[in-house]
Amino acid sequence: MNTRSLAAPAATFTPGFIMNHPLFKPMAALMALLLVDLIFIPGFFSLEVKEGHLYGAVIDIINRAAPLMLAALGMTVVIATRGIDISVGAQVALSGTVACMLIADNTSMPVALAAAMGAALLCGAWNGLLVAALKLQPIVATLILMVAGRGLAQLLTDGQIITVYYKQYFFIGSGYLLGLPFALYIVAAVFAVVALMMKKTALGLFIQSVGINPVAARLAGLRTATLIFFTYVFCAACAGVAGLMISSNIKSADANNAGLLLELDAILAVTLGGTSLAGGKFSLAGSVIGALIIQTLTYTIYSLGVPPEVNMVVKSLVVFAVCLSQSAEFKNLWKRRK
């Protein structure tokens, strides 16, 4: 969380202030995409109320982006400490599988949800232990669970897709509250809690210090290992909830495909949001916007009738462009050309 931008007086809305704001680039990218949608997709922004629920493309995008937003929030904190968690997708598969199996087994829903979250938290503790206590490289440490987590989920389901029918469970991923998708409330709640923690406690300062200079942070008396451990636990908790959302949305547990490559989208969202993979300064709001950019892009590509095969290529081009805009080297080259 960029405390400086928070502290900056809101009155100074000069062009320079806006351009230099850390959220300027991700916002601009999102706006540009929405502009494309506005021009080329008729009725993109139209909303209608059916049976007391809001319907429309925008709502749909936000709803579908919910699991990614959650995963990106968790990933942001991990990346800020110089880490990375590539087992997010596997955690999603695992938590969804545990929940669905228990519900299919007629276990009560609170128990099923608690068990699923417990599984996710265990995953996070495992990752945290490997990185913080054993000092393994984060990408290697979480690679273990990336393989093992999905493997475990597949073992539990015998490689089958487990479908469930339990209305209360569906509510998590496709329910509506006061006209808006319920998943949105979950994301908003997680975001609010984390943002409040950053603002009201020294968590943000500590995470940044550990990410920028871990040695100095330790010498200043921070519990660096504990802090890093809990970032992985938090990331896993986010993934666990995302897993519940996804499996509830598709009304089944698909150990093979649920959350597949979600970690990469989450990392992408974090990067798009302006958080450097080198750790340090981070932006939770940026990551949420990053997730929205990714989902909007996917929606736009489909709606424009671009064949799905092209989706990946187009996505990569957009990512390439955004990454270039963040590269200092590229900026220098550009300036020299001028």
Binding site: T3, R4, A202, Q208, S209, N213, V215, A216, L219, G221
Partner: protein, 545 residues
């Protein structure tokens, strides 16, 4: 021994300037075949730069390098090695996972019909190591062997048929005594074979154990070249430090110019008069009370002990050390680089874990396992490496300043922003920190101002004991003076200080008592006035005072 023979390598008039720093100023070096030649000098004397010029890492601005009668100008380490100059660096840069043989031949595997000749390679590796009297299984991974053996492997990799000069850059800094002996045996053997060996070290005992000749560098210049048998330890230390034990007036003898200037400035600020030259050295005639900051210690009876460490040690790093710090005193820690000063400080603070001994301070008894514990007991530690271990560069002055205090208060109890700003403003003013605002990233401040912020970080925690490791290194004269003034003023208010500095006059002037360290052990504890600069140098050099 070899002055009749022509030198195998001769460097003359080498100049090298980096932006803002004159690293080498008319430096030179002469190496003869069949000798071990030690290059000595304080940190920043230009040893590393000279070696980097010699091995093609840096190109000199001016100067001549002559190898076997031909002028050379290597552009890379590879080229230097092809010319016959081989180097073993301080950090063993080998691949621990590869076999010994692979490490020796990495990048130049012997080939047979286009394929790597593994058997031939192992045989050659074995032969090379046997030449150095090392008999080990060359097919095993390197990581199996102790550091000394790894050094030998590095040496045999550096050597090839055309090697005439072998440079060893602090090869012994991580070896224990037995390993050093092993290394020396190899060096003597190479010397017999006619190799010219350039040995860079900070350890005096080792210098005298192995060297034929010694070149001393100071401030980027060649101070002189001496036969080891003709240069006493005391003279050597004198020449390195550039101090004035040989009766010349201290200022004139040429401690580096800025340092001398700083001394003058500080002395002036303390006494209110321009100091006579003699005052730069320690005030020997016992008139301590005037300059003496720690009131209690000066009053004659000893103040109570604040911190007591007994047998604090870490294998290969520090021999068991006993040390007491009294309330309200400045305890100076003197010694050459590598003598164990910083290592002791790090063990006291829990930055590294001691494997023996105990520390008692306040309620705490036993070694500190983490800095956090030490901070909890009222210790602060300003590390010598500001960039790597101090500043959190892209965070603001305010955030850097409150970091330790916030860590101590706990994550959940955030210091209110307003209080943070007050604290930061307070210290910015008190220490004269030059910054655009307290929200400026610390990285954009000058070195001296960064150091002040880091000092303030600790002072904000109101420590009982402040460990200052080279607090004035690499900062300008004015900031140096301001920092020392402020710190001594704090001492007067009852804080204790463990003060580590390479600048002996600075230590002598500021300390109430001092502990002298040599070769990773404490070798003496002295009250203020007990020692003058000359006798300190004698103790540092290992000659009885």
């Amino acid at each position: 021994m070899a002055s009749a023979i022509t030198p195998v390598l001769e460097l003359t008039g080498i100049h090298k300037e980096f932006p803002g720093v004159k690293a080498l100023n008319d430096a030179g070096l002469r190496l003869y075949p069949g000798e071990v030649h030690t290059l000595m000098g304080q940190n920043g004397a230009g040893k590393s730069t000279l070696i980097k010029v010699l091995t093609g890492v840096h190109a000199p601005d001016r100067g001549r390098m002559v190898l076997l009668g031909h002028e050379i100008s290597p552009q890379s380490t590879l080229e230097a090695q092809e010319l016959g100059i081989s180097t073993v660096y301080q950090e063993v840069n080998l691949c621990p996972n590869l076999s010994v043989a692979e490490n020796i031949f990495i990048g130049r595997y012997p080939r047979k019909w286009g394929m790597v000749d593994w058997r031939g390679m192992r045989e050659q590796a074995r032969k090379l190591l046997l030449d150095l009297e090392v008999d080990i299984d060359v097919a095993s991974p390197l990581s199996r062997y102790p550091l000394a053996i790894q050094q030998m492997v590095a040496i045999s990799r550096a050597l090839n048929i055309s090697s005439r000069v072998l440079i060893l850059d602090e090869p012994t800094s991580s070896l224990d005594e037995a390993e050093v002996q092993l290394l020396f045996r190899v060096l003597r053997r190479l010397r017999e074979q006619g190799m010219a060996i350039l040995f860079v070290t900070h350890f005096l005992d080792q210098t005298y154990a192995i060297s034929d000749r010694i070149t001393v560098m100071r401030n980027g210049e060649r101070e002189g070249e001496y036969a080891a048998s003709e240069l006493s330890r005391l003279a050597l230390v004198n020449k390195m430090i550039g101090a004035a034990a040989d009766a010349a007036p201290p200022g004139a003898a040429g401690a580096s110019a800025p340092a001398a200037h700083a001394q003058t400035a500080i002395a002036a600020s303390k006494t209110g008069t321009a100091p006579a030259q003699g005052e730069l050295a320690l005030d020997v005639d016992g008139d301590a009370a005037n300059k003496q900051p720690g009131g209690t210690a000066a009053s004659g009876e000893a103040a109570p002990v604040l911190l007591r460490a007994r047998g604090l040690a870490r294998r290969g790093v520090l021999q068991p050390v006993d040390i007491d710090v009294r309330e309200g005193e400045v305890l100076g820690l003197a010694g050459l680089l590598g003598s164990g000063r910083t290592e002791l400080a790090r063990l006291l603070f829990g930055a590294d874990r001691a494997d023996g001994g105990s520390v008692r301070i306040g309620e705490h008894e036993g070694i500190f396992l983490t800095p956090r514990e030490a901070i909890g007991s009222g210790i602060g530690f300003c590390s010598e490496d500001r960039k790597l271990e101090g500043a959190v560069l892209s965070l603001s002055v305010r955030e850097n300043l409150i970091l330790a205090l916030q860590a101590r208060t706990g994550m959940l109890r955030a210091i209110p922003l307003k209080r943070q700003q007050e604290l930061a403003e307070e210290y910015v003013k008190a220490l004269g920190i030059k910054t655009a605002s307290i929200e400026t990233p610390i990285g954009s401040l000058s070195g001296g101002n960064q150091q002040k912020v880091l000092l303030a970080r600790w002072l904000a925690t109101s420590p009982k004991l402040m460990i200052l490791d080279e607090p004035t290194r690499g900062i300008d004269v004015r900031a140096k003076q301001e920092i020392m003034d402020y710190v001594t003023a704090l001492c007067r208010k009852g804080m204790s200080i463990l003060f580590i500095s390479s600048e002996l006059p600075e230590v002598l002037r500021c300390s109430d008592r001092m502990v002298i360290m040599r070769d990773r052990a404490a070798c003496g504890e002295y009250a203020r006035g007990q020692l003058d600069e000359e006798s300190v140098l004698q103790v540092i050099a290992g000659e009885a005072a």
